[in-house]
Symmetry: C2
Subunit: 202 residues, 2 copies
């Protein structure tokens, strides 16, 4: 199941900009769009190769399987989200300010990478084995960092439950976001406002 | 794509209790569990037949295809949710009380029919053509009835956006609900509290 190219995702994770990685990033973007549009199961690796301008043999130089494509999309996406959240948390600010920045960062990343986020939300359980576990570690890290902020704020709803509600609002955006109708900054403001006022109990 | 048994879903929709319908309801429950567990695309109609104790030829007496099974699950589920919400709205109460009852009804239905709700949330786009459209009509009805309540309450977030956030919280529950850890009534109370306090701006 794993690619023979050991370390692909490690290199991707640290954001190297070598030619190989630039092509891989392009490939992952095309795969995310194809999976988001037609569903992971219904999309063949042949279709992904075509949409990326790769031959079928060339795509296998980069990834071992369709599942590795899905894995790399999710692993990369949660990696970026965790990194950005850690950067926010390094800055000295109140927990409320940290949460506000987290919500804006998440919504901003989401609108810039809508197919990738859609694939993360809707195809969570299409991965198996080691792939699933590696993504799970990053997903949990992202959840726990956010729950830590929610806990430090303190509110009228149990922090774990409140964090699940927060991610419900955030994750569901991928199902209805329309770049022509929704302004991301205002959307993030509204979501943060609703959450924080509700959590603090007014 | 449509079954030759015209009117199956109409009969299902009005809740007739004939022998045919009881067997169909059993079949849909088994199909929902199989789809929720393994994903719709990965599950064969043969697997559904087996889990329901039907022969493959017998299952085709009830439905024309795997897609019709998915359609019936979603159509039936949104039908029940709309009916129950309409019943709530017939009672004389404040918009806040209506919303509170809607949230409790939704969470209550969800925990009783977790596989069906999971299939509604995660396989929305696995339907096509007429099947998709028929479900969409009911989904929209459910959304619009809820948005009407949210609008009548009035708050600091635009009502359509607030309703999308509310459904984000509600729909995401299917991804994390654990009957051993979560008490449905308390969960619904917390969700309603967070939403209403946030929406009213404290």
């Amino acid at each position: 199941m794993q690619s023979s190219h050991k370390g692909i995702y490690e290199r991707l994770a640290v954001g190297k900009t070598a030619r190989f990685d630039a092509k891989l990033v392009h490939l992952l973007g095309c795969a995310a769009r194809a999976f988001a549009e037609n569903g992971y199961e219904k999309t063949s690796i042949r279709q992904v190769a075509k949409s990326a301008g790769f031959s079928l043999s060339n795509i296998y130089y980069y990834v071992a399987s369709k599942e590795e494509l899905l894995f790399l999309i999710q692993y990369h996406t949660f990696g970026r989200l965790v990194e950005r959240l850690e950067t926010i948390l390094e800055r000295d600010a109140s927990p409320q300010q940290h949460l506000k920045e987290m919500v804006h960062m998440h919504v901003g990343y989401l609108v810039e990478h809508l197919p990738e986020l859609r694939v993360c939300v809707t195809e969570l359980h299409s991965l198996s084995g080691e792939y699933y576990k590696k993504v799970l570690v990053r997903r949990q890290r992202y959840f726990e960092l956010t729950r830590g902020i929610v806990r430090r704020i303190g509110g009228v709803v149990e922090p774990n439950l409140a964090t699940l509600f927060l991610f419900g609002m955030l994750n569901w955006i991928v199902m209805w976001f329309d770049a022509d109708k929704n302004e991301p900054h205002q959307l993030a403001d509204s979501l943060y406002l609703l959450f924080i006022k509700g959590y603090k109990g007014g």
